[in-house]
């Protein structure tokens, strides 16, 4: 015990009394510390952040000593005969000095030193905790920012959906994504990662990124879940996976295609709130199975504009009431049937909140109700804003070229990128393919369309085409394209070196739908100024790539 106290360095503040001088000398002789610094009491301050265990040795307690101490672990030593009344007002420890044994003094000083050291350690821990907390807060703010950006495209304001998204902790392990597809359809994804908090929320990043990228291309639900599963299976640790319900509502609101992996059944409600269908999970959650074992089979149901689909995570049915009872699926269904309208959603949320009372959330909780009306989302097409220079080009194709090149697709591959033409590429392809195929099939290969009249002949015709093309020795086709900026006018001219040929009269079958001859009809309707020269060897037509009206 004495040894450890020898490591001490202590400060003694003393006044210029004989008493103080006497005590200081006595303390030095007690060999209580490695070093003792004696400092005039004038330098002492109640507010000082003391760096060493300190003693105050004074003959009388002056009023300046009786202040609130910044560092209460100080020992005040006074003469034994001093009134204890004043000492009561001293915040720190005190000792009435007697000429008694040194052991008691040593113990008192040692306990003052211990208290001082403990307090210093506590202070250090407190500061490091504070610093750590600030760091965590800063990092959470960064992560929140990233999440916010990752979900900035989330179309939760879509007018025909209402959502309730309540995380149990700061970060949500549930995910509800809404986005319009490029064909005017609407995609909704509801997902629930294992657990809640930051770790599961992290999984939401790759999932949402993949979702928005694929939605832009109107990728089918089956393709999407395949990709999601592949990504999550690679990313997530074994004990973590992601239950997911994803659906696509067609632009006319009449068809829903869904995939449910490990989520509670989504509920289809009819006009009067009756339950029409429960879209149950048929698959394992995402991130569990390898791509080989994964099943992407979707189901399609017919819907009406009055129908609503309620999707939710298990946090809703496992929500606890004030009396710690589960809500359960049956009760949720009763609530949904009672408040099924989108305009009653706030009421539904209120009822659920009443059920829960002050009970804290055990899990993230998400609920969405979608009305299956026509989406009103126009097909997503970029706007034509860039200008294009007038141009013309000619492509002369010999037999060898014709054998090996996919001519029309190649031309459209170039033309279709030009801004004014981009939105017309499918129509232009159809028209140019028609004229080019006629030149090749009838002019150079001598095929007769009438073979195509029945399904067997249809396939046979294209088999013949392939055979004759492979044997083609001579002959050529020349394609000329001109573009004028006025009215975005495109003029096409296709000439072949083969036999003269005449378009047959459009031979409509009784029902008006012949499996051939349709291309010419389309050409007449979609193109203008169709000209025909040199016995069908040369055909020209004009197409106006008028910009679509802006949505």
């Amino acid at each position: 015990m004495l040894r450890s106290s020898r490591q001490l360095v202590i400060d003694i503040y003393y006044d210029d009394s004989v008493f103080a001088q006497h005590v200081c000398d006595a303390l030095k002789q007690l060999d209580i510390a490695r070093r003792i610094r004696c400092i005039p009491v004038a330098e002492w301050s109640a507010q000082a952040q003391l760096v060493r265990p300190s003693l105050l040795v004074v003959e009388t307690v002056e009023s300046f000593l009786l202040q609130r101490l910044r560092c209460p672990e100080q020992l005040l030593i006074v003469p034994n005969e001093l009134s204890s009344k004043l000492l009561m007002q001293w915040e720190g420890d005190s000792l009435a000095w007697q000429q008694c044994s040194g052991t008691r003094v040593i113990q008192r000083i040692k306990s003052v030193a211990d208290a001082f050291n403990n307090s210093r350690q506590l202070q250090a821990v407190r500061e490091s905790l504070l610093w750590h907390n600030q760091r965590v807060d800063r990092e959470h703010a960064l992560v929140e920012h990233i999440f916010k950006n990752a979900l900035s495209r989330n179309y939760l304001e879509y007018p025909h959906i209402r959502t309730l998204l309540t995380p149990a902790a700061k970060f949500n392990g549930d995910l509800c994504l809404v986005a319009p597809g490029s064909t005017g359809s609407l995609y909704v994804l509801m997902a629930d990662f294992t657990g809640h908090g930051l770790a599961p929320a992290t999984g939401a990043l790759p999932l949402s990124q993949a979702f928005f990228a694929m939605v832009d291309n109107s990728v089918s639900v089956a393709e999407m879940v395949k990709e999601f599963n592949y990504r999550l299976n690679q990313l997530l640790p074994n004990e973590m996976f992601c239950a997911c319900f994803i659906m696509e509502l067609s632009a006319n609101g009449q068809r829903v295609t869904y995939w449910n992996g490990g989520m509670p059944p989504a509920i289809v409600l009819g006009a009067d709130g009756e339950i029409k269908q429960r879209l149950k999970a048929q698959h394992m959650a995402l991130g569990v199975l390898d791509s080989d074992a994964f099943e992407a089979h979707t189901t399609t149901i017919q819907t009406h504009s009055d129908d609503r689909i309620a999707m939710y995570t298990d946090g809703v049915i496992e929500m606890l009431s004030q009396n710690r009872e589960f809500l359960g699926l049956e009760a949720l269904e009763r609530y949904l049937m009672r408040y099924s309208g989108l305009d009653e959603f706030d009421l539904l949320v209120k009822k659920l909140a009443q059920f829960r009372g002050a009970q804290p959330l055990q899990d993230d909780l998400s609920l969405a109700i979608l009305q299956c009306c026509p989406t009103g989302l126009g097909p997503q097409e970029e706007q034509d804003e860039l200008e294009v220079l007038p141009f013309s080009f000619t492509s002369h194709l010999e037999a060898e070229d014709l054998k090996h090149l996919d001519v029309v697709a190649t031309i459209l591959g170039v033309l279709g990128r030009l801004p004014p033409i981009h939105h017309h590429r499918t129509t232009i392809y159809l028209l140019l393919a028609e004229v080019f195929n006629n030149a090749l099939e009838h002019g150079l290969l001598g095929l007769d369309s009438r073979i195509k009249a029945d399904p067997e002949g249809f396939a046979y015709y294209y088999q013949l085409r392939a055979e004759r093309l492979a044997q083609l020795q001579s002959g050529s086709i020349t394609i000329r394209v001109e573009y004028a900026r006025a009215h975005h006018r495109l003029r096409f001219n296709v000439r072949n070196s083969g036999a003269a040929w005449e378009w047959p009269e459009f031979d409509e079958t009784a029902d008006g739908y012949s499996s051939y001859g349709r291309g010419i009809d389309l050409l007449r309707q979609l193109a203008t100024d169709i000209e025909w020269h040199d016995g069908g060897r040369e055909i020209s037509f004009t197409y106006y790539a008028i910009p679509r009206s802006k949505h």
């Binding site: 089918s220 459209l412 499918t426 393919a433 499996s515 051939y516």
Partner: protein
């Protein structure tokens, strides 16, 4: 360019997705895709969401499909058409024969 088949969980829906160019080069693949319909198939969907180009032979192939299977299924749907594709189908009056959306 490809045709992919997708049968729904309950086996009632067959979806044929055409990717890229829908033209005569897939005449056999397309025929094969609907040739072995299950008894329970009720709806056939031709999904054109990824169809960028089509030519008049594609229209012929759709009509041939209809001839082959329309007596066995409730309806043939052509779905997820891009606007240009839809207007081509409309001009060809396909809306009378197929459910187009």
């Amino acid at each position: 360019m490809s045709v992919s088949r997708h049968i729904s969980n309950d086996g009632k829906d067959l979806t044929l997705s055409i990717r890229g160019k829908f033209d005569f080069s897939m005449v056999n693949d397309f025929r094969r895709a609907y040739s072995s319909l299950g008894e329970e198939t009720q709806h056939v969907y031709v999904d054109l969401r990824e169809t960028e180009y089509l030519d008049s032979s594609a229209l012929g192939m759709l009509l041939n499909m209809r001839k082959a299977i329309c007596d066995h299924v409730n309806a043939i749907h052509i779905i997820n058409c891009r606007p240009e594709v839809k207007s081509i189908l409309d001009i060809s009056r396909f809306d009378k024969l197929f459910v187009i959306d």
